[in-house]
């Protein structure tokens, strides 16, 4: 008995740092790819920034869908709330300091997260999906009606953010916006990485895998999900704020069912339940879409559809999920041989 305890101690110690390493690798990857993007595509920073703000929304969906098992086709509500929050702060209240605008976006996103969480969490499965659809339509219609504040379907313009730290201006070449976006993504990734490994992250996974068991441990399933929805709202709101700051305009599409559905597709494409899956899915989908639609703006939809079908057929756990499972199997097989 003593022996086995000892060996496990070793195991535990070995396992914990290994997981941390993966987090460090992720953060390092963001820095490397972020820097590479800056130098390899210096003329394409607007698209890259657009990808980053969408990626934040996809990460937000992953928090509730991948970690808590909530089915949602209405998550753009949180993103749009952040975008309009930051945009309205700048256009109507003269809050043009970018960090403050970002903060406003995060707060508005969290509030929208709380509201849509309260509605969406009242049902499961298909009914939940439909509730989320109703929520996004109500949000969009509300924004359309409040055109004095939001600009309605013409979009909210007149957002003129100041220079970051008074030095770096948001200009045509989009360098500032891009670097700002990468920085926000990095910070978010690190925080989320800590979150999903934390006890609360375990609770969330518990909600997804068996809510009855979790309740029998004394945890309140509803409270875990609501808290996760608020956090998810903060992340999505951050993405929205980044979008508002970098493009200096907010449209009703940021509160649309289309955006919700498209970002859910990106998440599933990459693989749910992993921060990497969310990021990989976004990058692959958006790059693919951009390339294909630039090559053939008239018929790219067919090719994107074929990609989605191919992923279901050949990578059912999503691109990242399937790759991760493959390497895990290989490394296990390798270990098995070592043991024998």
């Amino acid at each position: 008995m003593a022996l086995s305890t000892q060996s496990t101690t070793g195991h535990g110690q070995a396992a914990a740092p290994r997981r941390t390493d993966r987090g460090v690798i992720g953060a390092a990857a963001i820095v490397v790819f972020g820097t590479a993007g800056y130098f390899v595509f210096p003329d394409n920073l607007a698209l890259l920034t657009h990808i980053i703000s969408t990626m934040l929304l996809v990460l937000a969906i992953d928090l509730v869908t991948g970690y808590c098992g909530v089915a949602t086709l209405g998550h753009a509500a949180l993103f749009g709330a952040g975008a309009y929050g930051a945009g309205i702060a700048a256009a109507h209240f003269g809050i043009t300091e970018p960090l403050t605008m970002t903060l406003v976006g995060v707060i508005c996103g969290s509030i929208a997260g709380l509201i849509s969480g309260i509605v969406v969490l009242r049902a499961h499965g298909l009914a939940q999906l439909v509730l989320s659809i109703a929520v996004i339509h109500l949000f969009q219609e509300a924004a359309n009606k409040a055109s004095a504040w939001t600009g309605g379907s013409d979009g909210l313009s007149g957002i003129m953010p100041d220079a970051v730290f008074g030095r770096f201006e948001f200009d045509l070449f989009g360098q500032t916006a891009y670097v700002y976006g990468v920085a926000l993504l990095l910070v978010t990734f690190v925080l989320l990485r800590i979150l999903v490994r934390s006890p609360f992250g375990m609770l969330a996974r518990g909600v997804k895998e068996d809510p009855v068991r979790l309740a029998a441990m004394g945890a309140s399933v509803q409270s875990v999900m609501i808290r996760m929805y608020i956090i998810s709202g903060a992340v999505a709101g951050l993405g929205g704020a980044l979008s508002a700051i970098s493009t200096q305009v907010v449209g009703l599409d940021s509160l649309s069912f289309t955006l919700s559905a498209e970002t859910l597709v990106m998440l599933v494409l990459g693989g749910t339940g992993s921060l990497y899956g969310a990021m990989v899915g976004t990058v692959v989908f958006m790059f693919f879409e951009d390339t294909v639609s630039a090559a053939n703006p008239f018929h790219w939809l067919t090719i994107v559809g074929a990609l989605l079908i191919a992923v279901v057929l050949f990578a059912p756990k999503g691109l990242y999920g399937t790759a991760a499972a493959f390497f895990e199997r290989r490394s296990r097989a390798g270990k098995g041989r070592d043991g024998a």
């Binding site: 535990g12 934390s198 006890p199 609360f200 895998e209 068996d210 009855v212 004394g218």
Partner: protein, 254 residues
């Protein structure tokens, strides 16, 4: 006798069928009670009513003098009313270590923390290892639950219940599906639980029941028909009728 846990006049109908009919059971600290009865007697329904997974039509459940009848299951758990499930309910993609750690953190009110990893907390890790060792699961600490045998999953259910430090523990057929060799582990684990803990166990394994229980309650057709010592139960005429009768009925139906 100082009553720790009391169920009084609990009733539940599913349509016209009374599955739990006026059941009253009280337990004191240190009680080792076995709840037995033929199939369909309403034993699992009784557990579900007590833990709040099903709402009773009438009746009361009190714990340490506090009425918990209207509370959500989680609130009862926080007050020390813990159960295990007849059919294993675990998180298939988590490891046994994570299961037990989560239970410990939840018990200590630290599961809501949004930073830090349990493996960095020596006290938690120590308890995790002790609990898993008692049930012989230590070698499996880092496998996903979906990858371990059903019998071992049953043991993990017990480990979770232990980790939650219950005042009252309801075990719904803890040995069902566990190989004979492993049942001794369960018994050993139960022996190591604090003596002042009240345990109610449902099981069909009469040997296990007799080794474990100091008191036996027999449920038939939703009604308590016997409440007494293990020695007395085998001699009770109504109990014999209930069991034989149910088998006789089952026979004629088939």
């Amino acid at each position: 006798m100082n009553t720790l846990f009391e169920v009084s006049n609990l009733k539940k109908n599913f349509g016209a069928l009374a599955v739990t009919n006026n059941v009253s059971i009280g337990m004191a600290a240190g009680d080792r009670l076995a709840l037995i009865g033929p199939n369909g007697a309403g034993k699992t329904t009784f557990v579900n009513l007590v833990t709040g997974h099903i709402k009773p039509d009438s009746g009361r459940v009190t714990l340490s003098g506090e009425d918990v009848t209207g509370m959500r299951p989680a609130a009862r758990v926080q007050r020390g009313l813990i159960r295990s499930f007849q059919v294993t309910r675990l998180f298939p993609d988590m490891t046994p270590e994570e299961h037990v750690a989560l239970a410990i953190l939840q018990r200590d009110g630290k599961a809501g923390r949004m930073s830090g990893h349990y493996s960095a907390k020596p006290a938690v890790m120590k308890e995790v290892r002790e609990t898993l060792s008692i049930l012989g699961l230590i070698e499996l600490s880092h496998l996903k639950v979906r990858e371990i045998a059903y019998g071992q999953q049953r043991l993990l259910e017990i480990a979770l219940a232990m980790a939650l430090k219950p005042k009252v523990l309801l075990l719904d057929e803890p040995a069902a599906g566990v190989p004979q060799l492993e049942t001794t582990r369960i018994e050993r684990a139960l022996d190591q639980l604090p003596k002042d803990l009240a345990i109610l166990m449902i099981d069909h394994d009469m040997d296990l029941v007799f080794r474990f229980a100091t008191r036996v309650v027999v449920l038939a057709a939703g009604t308590v028909i016997f409440d007494g010592s293990p020695q007395a139960v085998t001699k009770d005429q109504r109990v014999r009728e209930a069991y034989l009768g149910s088998y006789a009925n089952a026979g004629s139906a088939a």
